[in-house]
Symmetry: C2
Subunit: 206 residues, 2 copies
């Protein structure tokens, strides 16, 4: 079991509706040591892959993208989300459905910040249906750039985002892949790991 799987067991909480709350260390409060380990681990896994830019989507991907940009010493770009179209010539725009907020978002990047010579490492905190990842890939493609790889903190293996991206030929590196979880028993099974109990199950954080 790796450091992130251990952290999920220790501090994660499973909520009804297949929701894993990792607010306490990943996407509201940020455990800087876990975040650093994640950045080092992505760099290790993508060793030998040429990367000249790190790309993520606001808001919770920005922390890991920043540390990764720091390690690679390359610029970071975060795509912005907006309900309104506001379509102008100077932006690449794609669409992504947000299951969290139950609405379609426009995802955009100003054109000067993506280019045809870019070799881009996409990173995000979660991969479930792959909506955000696909919209980021779409933006890179519109610019004529290359997706060097996709680094994900937590992949929900029951949903199809990861398997679809891999079938499309992308190299996806997920630090923790959840095969199944049960909010009633507060148990989780990571890919290639036995089923485990969450120690954080007694927490009452919403």
């Amino acid at each position: 079991m790796n450091f992130l799987e251990e952290k999920i067991l220790r501090d994660g909480v499973i909520k009804e509706g297949n929701i894993l709350k990792v607010d306490s260390f990943l996407n509201h409060q940020i455990d800087i040591d876990i975040m650093r380990q994640m950045a080092y681990e992505f760099k290790r896994r993508f060793h030998g892959v040429e990367v000249n830019k790190v790309l993520t989507i606001e808001a919770s991907g920005i922390a890991i993208a920043t540390l990764l940009g720091h390690l690679y010493d390359v610029p970071v770009v975060f795509a912005k989300k907006s309900e309104t179209a506001n379509c102008t010539d100077d932006k690449y725009i794609s669409q992504a459905y947000s299951f969290t907020h139950k609405k379609m978002n426009n995802v955009f990047i100003s054109k000067p910040y993506l280019s045809a010579t870019d070799k881009i490492l996409i990173v995000d905190d979660f991969l479930a249906d792959g909506q955000a990842a696909h919209s980021l890939i779409d933006l890179v493609r519109q610019a004529g750039g290359e997706v060097a790889g996709i680094g994900i903190a937590i992949e929900k293996g029951q949903q199809q985002g990861g398997s679809r991206l891999r079938a499309e030929g992308y190299r996806v590196e997920s630090l923790a892949i959840i095969e199944s979880m049960d909010w009633q028993t507060q148990t989780v099974r990571f890919r290639n790991q036995p089923e485990m109990s969450l120690e954080g199950a007694n927490l009452t954080i919403g």
Copy 2:
């Protein structure tokens, strides 16, 4: 002139309506070297000040907050924004008017991530009217914590946020303070600096 003032002259663009666009290095694309220098400079300016947590607000404050958390080796918390009230017992909630989006936002932090023993360094990319900073201070106070200081990348000195916060006794360290700017001549005057021409004035990025 410091590194951030120089970067603003080189890559900033002034738009009509007193808007300074720094999308190319601060809040859309992130120049990781500038971001690192900012983190080091905040740490230098707040030398001797006890800090056990870095606090910001999503989305564009997260990058600098993360590097600062990395330097201090302390957790980072980013407050979330939401239009809907969604008032529950487990959140500290405050309000802030967004001039960018012309609406009132609820700003909130889950209660476990702020505490009465916290000595918090607040950081953000911009300070204008101080709406976001005041809402963050309000959240820290609700938890009974202490604001150790406020670190700002770019303060708009013509607006009252900075002077109000200083009058209230907060230590505000802004790396670049804009006294005036003119979109027609693409000139800017930083506090304690002569008026300067933006070199980026020929860019057409919206």
